[in-house]
């Protein structure tokens, strides 16, 4: 068997830039996002540039395939800030011929006004947080925009960018299967080539989490309804030519988010900004990088020490195998069992695989192991079984 440990090379190389601010905190959201009254963009710019320089020196000569501005709400950044960052990025790494440069945007009118500026700065893909296509649900989700605003923003985005995606959150309070079917059909009629469709997750440490814990937040779908909703989602997106290529992501073939594929294929990515994680292979060692989550803490650490990271740690091979498994089995293309075996030093348990095959949760295709439609709905259980947990 050939040694497949170094396949991170084939996964590509991406850069993630985290912008940790939002206009308001959504009650469901546990991303590293904060609301502040004043942001000194020039300080932030200096910090980002300094981090780009530092990581650039370590990864000199690596060809950069993707850049992703995530948040928080990166569409609160001024186009000038984005432009200055991307200028430094281009000066630091040789860029792939056709780099994918994505920015996450909230669809309010203010932000839509900046879309063209982002395009001029080099952003070529916009990912918009529409979240719902009815106003009442948008209010429940604590969103600051209406459906009309989102549609208007979306229209601007389509003229400005060739690649546009939007996010919806479903399995919301009191949502019926039929309502979701209609909403998704509408979304598909608007969609360009990519959609992220997330089932609402109640996260600890959020306002929704607290309400759910005290018995509030009624009308959330139980297992069976959420399973049906998931199944309908797969069916409709497939029929519309945008099948699920990952648990919650759908695209026309060839329009997948290449940046996110780097994560799922367990490639290398550098992370810059508060709370940004990275996976970097340096001198044959695979490292996990991490930074302080609090924006102020990260900023002053960069300013004072010239390095925004927490101490790095090397990821042992078996741990890499586990991470690879957990990420890659999410993809419709499945995972490569040979790569898993070269990483972990042993093959996946064939008993576990056979057991899962018998109950229709996975299938094998050559050296690939693929979760079936049923398997994807209970993927956590499949992963536990495969990892012998």
């Amino acid at each position: 068997m050939e040694d497949r440990r170094h396949d991170w090379r084939n996964g590509g190389f991406g850069l993630y830039i985290h912008w940790p601010f939002c206009a308001a905190k959504c009650p469901y959201c546990d991303f590293n996002s904060h609301v502040v009254s004043q942001i000194d963009e020039s300080r932030w710019l200096r910090a980002y540039l300094s981090e780009i320089d530092r990581l650039g020196a370590e990864t000199q000569g690596r060809i950069l395939n993707t850049v992703f501005f995530g948040g928080g709400t990166p569409s609160l950044m001024s186009p000038d800030l984005v432009d200055a960052i991307l200028t430094r990025v281009r000066a630091t790494w040789p860029m792939a011929n056709d780099p994918e440069i994505t920015l996450e945007a909230n669809p309010t009118s203010v932000e839509a006004g900046r879309f063209r500026g982002y395009r001029d700065a080099g952003v070529n893909r916009l990912s918009m947080g529409a979240q719902a296509l009815n106003d009442e649900d948008l209010r429940r989700l604590g969103r600051l925009h209406s459906v009309a605003e989102a549609r208007a923003a979306f229209d601007i985005a389509r003229t400005a960018f060739s690649r546009v995606s939007f996010d919806l959150i479903y399995a919301r309070q009191h949502q019926t299967l039929d309502q979701w079917r209609r909403e998704l059909t509408e979304a598909l009629s608007m969609a360009v080539d990519h959609l992220s469709l997330y089932q609402l997750t109640i996260e600890d440490g959020t306002a929704f989490g607290a309400r759910a814990a005290t018995g509030g937040l009624l009308g959330l779908p139980q297992d069976d309804l959420s399973a049906d909703m998931y199944a309908v989602t797969q069916e409709l997106t497939e029929a519309a030519g945008m099948p699920g290529y990952e648990i919650s992501n759908h695209a026309a073939p060839g329009s997948e988010s290449r940046h996110n594929l780097v994560y799922w294929r367990y490639g290398d990515y550098a992370g810059i900004g508060p709370g940004a994680h990275g996976r970097l292979t340096l001198n044959g060692r695979r490292l996990a990088t991490d930074t302080p989550r609090a924006p102020g803490a990260w900023l002053s650490q960069v300013e004072e020490t010239g390095n925004g990271e927490a101490p790095r740690h090397e990821i042992a091979l078996e741990e890499q195998a586990d991470e690879y498994l957990m990420m890659c089995i999410r993809l419709a293309e499945g995972l490569d069992m040979d790569r898993y075996a070269s990483l972990s030093g042993k093959s996946l348990s064939s008993d576990a695989i056979t057991g899962l095959e018998q109950i229709g949760m996975v299938r094998r295709d050559g050296s690939r192991l693929i979760a079936t439609a049923e398997g994807r709905m209970v993927l956590n259980a499949v992963i536990r079984e495969l990892m012998g947990a």
């Binding site: 297992d223 998931y230 648990i247 990275g278 991470e323 109950i359 209970v378 993927l379 947990a389």
Partner: protein, 599 residues
Amino acid sequence: MTELDRIRNFSIVAHIDHGKSTLADRLIQLTGTVAERDMKAQMLDAMDIERERGITIKANSVRIEYPAKDGNTYILNLIDTPGHVDFAYEVSRSMRAVEGSLLVVDASQGVEAQTLANVYQAIDADHEIVPVLNKIDLPAAEPDRVKEQIEDVIGIDAQDAIPISAKSGMGIPDVLEAIVHRLPAPKGDRDAPLKAMLVDSWYDAYLGVVVLIRVMDGVIRKNDTIRMVKTKATYKLDKLAVLKPQMVDIGELGPGEIGVFTASIKQVRDTRVGDTITHERQQCAAALPGFKPAQPVVFCGLFPVDSAEFDALRDAIEKLALNDASFSYEMETSAALGFGFRCGFLGLLHLEVVRDRLEREYDIDLITTAPSVVYHLHMRDGETRELHNPADMPDLTLVDHIEEPRIKATIMVPDEYLGEVLKLCQDRRGLQLDLTYAGSRAMVVYDLPLNEVVFDFYDRLKSVTKGYASFDYQITGYREDYLVKMQVLVNDEPVDALSLMVHRDRAEMRGRAMCEKLKELIPRHMFKIPIQAAIGGRVIARETIAALRKDVTAKCYGGDVTRKKKLLEKQKAGKKKMRQFGKVEIPQQAFINALKMDG
């Protein structure tokens, strides 16, 4: 050596939580037995588990010096006893060592089931009884009504009952005076050969086995060579002491005195509670009658969740047994659970206490199987066998008939809950023996099968009476009934650790309840799991656990892999509390919780 008429020995008895240990604190405190700075609440409850649960499990004795109003100083030996019915044995043997009892009654609660049980024991032991009305600081206290109740229900004179608050210390001097003046002095002959009663023994990590004795006749001295009449063992004493409550060495103990000795005895099991202790050289003529040893009445299997911990479990059980002779164990193998132990206990609380200690003091996760009583199997060939474990039930064709233990249960309850209590007792195959009233409280006496009571009867009783009922029982004997073994099949495989003996008429209902409970307790798997209850080959109840339909993380990006890994670690740790049966994982708690009935 103290003159007999300057000694008073007594036990403090009461229903659970009526304040025995708190009263003991005040007596210890007021007499200056323990320095003020060393006092703590319920100081005789020294075991962790006693302090945590706020209950007394082991009887404890203390020697107190009390300068009475008559100008004389008296030696008082008090024994604080447990209130819970599982430990009733501790009470009865304590009473054999003393001449009187302080009967504590919570003046806000009144007479409860163990109040009665204890009084009868005290009367049996020929005790002088001094009633004490405690907790009169509480607004709900009704000392006059409770006095009346004591006279009505128990039939002893309560006019001189002493009102106290063990919490505030009010009335304690009166209690001390009453002990001196109302309780009798012990009797005994100092010149007769040594005759002492072995009241209790326990294991001390530094001293080895410590033996608590009450001297009846004669004198015991340090360095004496003594003989235990029943076990016929002889020992040379290393240490002779009294408990204050720490050990304080003493040169000799004469008639009426209570103290402890050590004598290089290895195991608590080498001593027999109730045995007579005499001198090797000059033996006493007649031995004391002794007591019946405490018999375990509830049995269950204890298995390590992680089968690799079997050896650790064996060590832990052996160590615990060193100090608790009322608990029995033998190795058991289960098809489902592997190697473990079949253990016998005095009751369910005793079982819980032992299990808790094993889990906490020895850090072993345990699976506890269905508690069972001891059945008598009368075989076709005339042989009689004891059945401690339903899994060992022989082929039915070999069995002529089965007998089960019955109890006499006494329940005291405010009359508004009487209907619920009668229904519960009827549902549990009870036969009513008596029903009387004292004011608005009813006293119900039932003949019940122990197997219907052992497990959750007390919990159910508390819940249907909002905690207002009290309960006490004694085993009365064995009776034949139509008993069958019920098996439980999970995913078509029998799980022996879940099988139990039930009355045929109750089998369908128990089977349904168990299948329903297991359906809640076993997490959904990726496939559907049938759960069946069966008698012989016949299925009498079934449920199906639907397959897990949805369990997937919606968002998983660059930073999330670390989080997800942590979650998996947590699940892996959680899984350590599960046991694998074929393809199905059953949580550790399911084995015991499956038996809890809601009705």
